[in-house]
Assembly symmetry: C2
Homo-oligomer: 432 residues x 2
């Protein structure tokens, strides 16, 4: 039997007022609940932004983290968990922009987000802050890796018990990157969608706060900060075009929501922003629906190196398509080989080492530019969402080898000569 | 024949005026040069701080990176390379502090430094900015791993050619974490000290800027920012005690220099700060000299998992000992097993995943507390200098395993029961 969790929230000095069904509009109390009882639609947080009291200056005077936007987030008190998450660099690209022929390219670099080097630290910081307000002592998640890293780390910091679920075949760095924080780690023999279904059952039988299940309405709001920060870092202005990865589709829709809330709050001027999304060919149910102009997603069995994007049945896929359509954006996919090239391209030109998800996004950016679907003058922001040290096996064997030498000058000189010959050969290939 | 590099610097709006021998005081022009021609002592940058025009407010209004301290650094123009390096979190410890019985513990977390997740990004940002001013087009380094990652990444960003040298037996993550940026990577069959000697020869025959050889006087100044930032982040106050890792000893001496410069500039009040240093038992020449009250270092052959600290012949070891002695600090070593425990302790209590160097520092902190050498009330700062994702093999096999389960509720429930039994057993062991 479904056991509804009814721990009450203390909502003081907060702008959020209820949970509301995205489909039928039914409203619920601010509990740990994510599905509408009437129509089974997803619940969202509802705000009363007439209670907002923010200016550009008050935000800039706030913490150097996502918590400078606290009034836009579903956390009731100032007793939030701040581990320095957010305010990652927005880099004006020089060398990647030149390589692609773009004049106004920016890179939002969450590969150095704190504490666990992916954008998931944003949603987990919000979800665990809210979990604590709702009285949970054990937190959990269904994860493709990054989310487990982040939940385990921030739970450790906050002293919460933690049990995380992942597909058993994840990259070593992502498994170790959770285990080191000593959570209970359940490695499930199956893909993410199976992990997710199992977790839904567990959420109904144990009184745990699952950040991306029963706490999902609060959790997903954390991604809005990737919209707020870009707007603030561009000098309180929206970009012309954004390119972001699509896993469940949630991140994409929340960047959109973030921009719109900043316009509504009078913090930036409204203007059209094009939204383009990136998937791996081996898991591209959203791309397929977009190209076939369908209004439903056909679930797929994922088979790609971009494991953090490998969600075959993406919950917010339809909403992502809707946004791409109404903003005149695109949704495109790339092969695993192109993903690896994307990782290398970003590293070589900008000194940023991203994981497979970021490689996917860079490769889709390149593909859209080459297809004339991004104008060279557009102020374009590409979202890099995780760090390459977590998915090392993806590029092992596809990058150059070291020159192994003896600790002697002549051994070095010979190797240097070999490396220069290789460079010349590469150039000749390029010229031919 | 030694080929002296004489590219001239353009020193406009700068406070640094010469290179000066740390031993005999001889002065040299601001070139790429690191050894005194008269006494073979190390050269340092000399400043005229009467030219300083900074206040707490002007610093706070500067960039959110090490470049807010530009007037204290040996870079002449505002055309420096800013990749967001520095201003990493200073975390007030709750759970680690309680575990150790400390009341005022802070963690300076360079495990999330940008772009390559170690404190080396600080010194490389300074060195490559200066290299560009001196006209170098190829940059290089001798590295135990982190420095190679950082040099390769920031050179890629700045469009400089790059050739890096490492010992061939480094951790996979550190090798891949350089290769991805496409430098020429020389893997030398030998230890760091042999790599370093080879690089000194290469620096004399090729016109390259070696960040930690001919550019060392500029490079090493970047570490002062770890002193400045802690002082600023403590609310313009110095701590009572710092604990930092010792490889060459340079970092330690530069934190000291940073504190003193801030006192001299009137930015913080002067007070005694105790300096304690950490080495791995498998490479502890500085500890040995400290304990035997020697004024010279006996080089050792390193044998430890803390490869980033494995410098058997540390250039600044003597200066580090001098500082520990005159500040009433300590220099201590820990075993490889204690290093692994240190990594786990920090992860479990603070959600920070550090590499072996950080594990060493945390383990030495613990050892000093247990020996009564750190007072519980002292405002103590422990420096975490690199990220655990780069040295995954060090802890593989020493952390718990995932529970592998089927995607079924009863398989999960059984695993959960097993995990709880394990927890009870662990508790019983603790109690016994």
């Amino acid at each position: 039997m479904t056991q509804v969790i009814t721990k009450q929230a203390q909502t003081t000095n907060a702008t959020f007022t209820a949970l509301k069904c995205k489909e039928c509009g039914a409203e619920y109390e601010l509990e740990a609940k994510h599905v509408c009882e009437l129509c089974f639609g997803p619940l969202e947080v509802k705000y009363d932004f007439s209670r907002l009291s923010v200016t550009r200056e008050s935000i800039q005077a706030g913490p150097n983290s996502i918590w400078r936007y606290r009034q836009f987030l579903p956390v009731a008190t100032d007793n939030y968990i701040d581990v320095g998450t957010g305010m990652t660099p927005l880099v004006k690209s020089q060398r990647l922009a030149r390589r692609l022929g773009l004049k106004n390219l920016y890179i939002k670099n969450d590969a150095v987000n704190m504490p666990t080097l992916s954008f998931k630290d944003r949603v987990v910081s919000v979800a665990l802050s809210r979990a604590r307000e709702l009285g949970f002592t054990t937190v959990s998640c269904a994860s493709t890796g990054n989310l487990a890293n982040s939940t385990a780390a921030i739970a450790a910091y906050a002293g919460l018990d933690c049990c995380v679920f992942i597909p058993a075949d994840l990259e070593a760095g992502k498994i170790l990157g959770s285990l080191v924080y000593s959570p209970t780690l359940m490695a499930v023999e199956g893909n993410y969608d199976q992990v997710n279904r199992l977790c839904s059952e567990v959420a109904n039988t144990h009184g745990w706060g699952f950040v991306n299940i029963n706490l999902r309405p609060y959790y997903s709001e954390g991604s809005k900060t990737l919209g707020y920060e870009v707007a603030e870092q561009l000098g309180w202005e929206l970009p012309d075009h954004i390119v972001a990865p699509l896993a469940s589709g949630s991140l994409f829709t929340k960047i959109y929501k973030g921009f719109n809330e900043f316009v509504a709050a009078g913090l930036v001027e409204g203007k059209p922003v094009r939204f383009s999304g990136a998937q791996a060919e081996g898991c591209s149910p959203i791309v397929e629906a977009f190209k076939e102009k369908r209004d439903f997603i056909k679930p797929v069995k994922p088979n790609t190196i971009a494991k953090s994007l490998a969600i075959g049945n993406p919950a917010d896929g339809i909403y992502a398509i809707d946004i791409a359509n109404k903003t005149n954006g695109n949704i495109e996919s790339v092969t695993d080989a192109e993903i690896i090239e994307g990782i290398k391209l970003l590293a070589e030109t900008e000194g940023i080492f991203t994981e497979t998800a970021g490689g996917t996004t860079v490769a889709v950016l390149k593909k859209l530019v080459e297809a004339g679907k991004i104008d060279p003058d557009e102020k374009t922001v590409v979202y890099i969402t995780g760090n390459g040290l977590k998915t090392q096996e993806a590029i092992q064997g596809y990058i150059s080898e070291p020159f192994t030498i003896e600790a002697k000058l002549d051994s070095f000189e010979q190797a240097l000569e070999r490396s220069r010959t290789l460079d010349r050969l590469e150039w000749q290939q390029v010229i031919v």
